[in-house]
């Protein structure tokens, strides 16, 4: 049983730096695995621990640096790592990214049972790649998953828990599952694991290897483009209340309908 986990390297959003021109200073920001993708990876490793024959392949589209997150995934227990990297991929939006991932999956691991992704990437937060990928591969999906209860070669049983209810679904493979919550098993790799991981070379493929058209990727292949980016500004005329605070708040609360 082959499980693919799509992982993205993202800048640490708690460590955002800005250039003088008010652009994101990507060079000086730390990067890490997208947290939701780590949930997906943990879920995959958990399935692997139950089924000896299960194999986990992690795949990432991004710059060479994304090797770091792939190495991390190998140390955590993935069997195989694929990096899709090419200058031509830079600037890919969700459609182009999904096309690259889909083409690579079709070529290098077509016999998958499950594709696991994070619910969202914290840098862009579009939540569009999983659905676009599912559409391109013509497989069904379940998103916002809080737990993969069981999975084998043929079906997966997953639960989607909200404050209101828990829905439990059965889904035939091949399918795509997007994880929203952390599963309990989070294995933090040790030095030994990294050393073991070094024996697994990361497979790297570029645009020619994958065999995808230049017109479908990167800036050219992305139908959307940023027209302007700005930091939200506010101009409010704030009045300060210094006295009779309780009374004034009460006035607000009790007279809200007259406003």
């Amino acid at each position: 049983m082959n499980i693919i986990v799509c992982i993205k390297q993202v800048p640490d959003v708690d460590d955002i730096k800005w250039t003088k021109e008010n652009n994101l200073d990507r060079n000086n920001m730390l990067s890490k695995i997208n947290p939701y993708d780590e949930y997906a990876l943990n879920a995959a490793i958990k399935i692997k621990s139950r089924f000896k024959e299960a194999k986990v392949t992690v795949i990432s589209m991004g710059p060479k640096q994304a090797q770091d997150v792939l190495n991390f995934a190998l140390a955590k227990g993935a069997n195989r790592a694929i990096l899709l990297s090419d200058k031509a991929f830079a600037g890919s939006d969700t459609l182009a990214t999904s096309k690259i991932l889909a083409a690579a999956i079709k070529k290098y691991c077509p016999d998958f049972s499950l594709i696991l992704t994070g619910q969202m990437a914290v840098d862009g937060d579009t939540q569009q790649v999983p659905l676009s990928l599912a559409q391109l591969l013509e497989i069904p999906e379940i998103t916002n998953i809080t737990e993969i209860c069981n999975a084998d070669k043929n079906v997966a049983i997953v639960s989607v828990k909200t404050d209101l209810k828990i829905d439990i679904y059965e889904i035939n493979t091949p399918c795509l599952l997007a994880l929203k919550t952390e599963c309990e098993e989070n294995y933090i790799p040790k030095i030994d694991d990294y050393i073991r991981a070094q024996n697994i070379p990361i497979e790297e493929y570029d645009i020619n290897d994958i065999g995808i058209n230049k017109e479908d990727v990167g800036v050219i292949g992305s139908p959307t483009m940023v027209y302007r980016a700005f930091r939200p500004e506010i101009h409010k005329d704030t009045k300060e209340i210094k006295e009779d605070i309780t009374k004034k708040i009460l006035d607000f609360l009790l007279k809200v309908d007259n406003k």
Binding site: L131, D163, Y169, V226, E240, K242, I245, V256
Partner: protein
């Protein structure tokens, strides 16, 4: 004539139209007048499309009042169960025969599933989770320009698409509703080829009985507790604020940090990854004013903030600034009501 299509969302229990659909219709209508102002010969009609097994007349009329010129029902009983594949394929079948220039989807759980499946098949772009949309005039061409927050809302990006149809998902609660459209229009029923999804089965639903859904849609007053109310390692002040909200017929809300520290349930969270509110009155108790939180409340009419730090960011977004201990304020308010009751 050009067309803006609104993908309509219905309540799955009784097929009434969800408020977000009216918000999108009103926005679509405003976009269409904006287009005309910028470029005289540019005219858009507004169409709303529902996938459902039925739609009652009352609801259809509401859609017209909210701004639709044309209401379409793609009608089939398969829609009684939601599958993104089934909805997207039926919608596309209709769309192929009745194309439009712009599609607005609601950024609701369902809208988020359908929209990418549709746009991938149309091989066009999709701008996610927008909080604004406008037209810009460039080289004498009108371009649809939606704006979305990125990087945890630290940055706003206005995004253009190279290819029609221009598609966006729009967050709920950011646009107002308006039922003043006097003209009714055309109602059309469309029967699709029946699509099925037999690869997914809902095998069980367990209701979380003691937990009620919190729906901020109609919240007039919101009392929001931030991490500043945390004291003595207890959730005491969140309980007090909740009580105060109850007495004053207000909604209780919290920041994500409060949720992260297990001091309140996620359903009360306001902000980018929680609910968006458009209250008449929003009172922040010990909230620092992180941009992700501001996203979810800034469209409230009157914003009052209580914080001990006179330089707290929240004050920049507030109409009224109160530098004080929010816990003391809550205690004083409770005393007032206890005496009154």
């Amino acid at each position: 004539m050009k067309k803006i299509l609104v993908y309509g969302e219905l309540n799955s229990k009784d097929n009434t139209i969800e408020k977000v659909t009216f918000e999108l219709l009103n926005k679509a209508r405003r976009l269409s007048s904006e287009a005309k102002e910028l470029k005289q010969d540019e005219e858009y009609i507004v169409e709303v499309v529902f996938c459902a097994s039925y739609l009652v007349d009352d609801e259809i009329n509401k859609a017209f009042k909210a701004g639709a010129n044309r209401v379409v029902l793609i009608k089939d009983s398969v829609f009684d169960t939601f599958y993104s594949t089934v909805y997207a394929d039926a919608f596309l079948e209709y769309f192929d025969k009745n194309p439009s220039d712009i599609i607005l989807f609601p950024a609701t759980p369902k809208g988020r599933l359908i929209a990418p499946r549709v746009t991938v098949q149309l091989d066009t772009g999709l701008v996610a989770d927008c909080i604004e949309a406008e037209f810009v005039l460039k080289n004498d061409k009108l371009l649809f320009a939606p704006t979305r927050p990125t990087f945890g809302s630290e940055l706003m990006a206005t995004i253009l698409s190279k290819k029609a149809p221009y598609c966006a998902t729009i967050r709920k609660g950011v646009f107002k509703t308006d039922f003043s459209n006097a003209k009714t229009g055309e109602f059309v029923e469309y029967t699709p080829i029946s699509y099925h999804e037999d690869r997914i089965k809902l095998i069980k639903t367990i209701l979380n009985k003691d937990k009620n859904d919190v729906d901020f849609t109609n919240a007039k007053v919101v009392l929001c507790g931030g991490y500043g109310l945390y004291s003595n390692k207890s959730d005491e002040y969140y309980k007090k604020l909740k009580k105060l909200a109850k007495i004053t017929d207000s909604f209780f809300g919290v920041t994500r940090k409060v949720v992260d520290f297990n001091l309140a349930e996620q359903k009360y969270q306001i902000g980018q990854t929680g609910s968006t509110v458009q209250a008449k009155l929003y009172v922040a108790f010990g909230v620092s004013g992180a941009i992700q939180h501001i996203q979810g409340m800034k469209n409230s009419k009157t914003i009052v903030a209580i914080n001990t730090d006179e330089n707290a960011d929240i004050f920049k977004y507030s109409d009224y600034k109160i530098v004080a201990d929010a816990k003391k304020v809550i205690d004083d308010l409770l005393i007032y009501f206890d005496i009154k009751i």
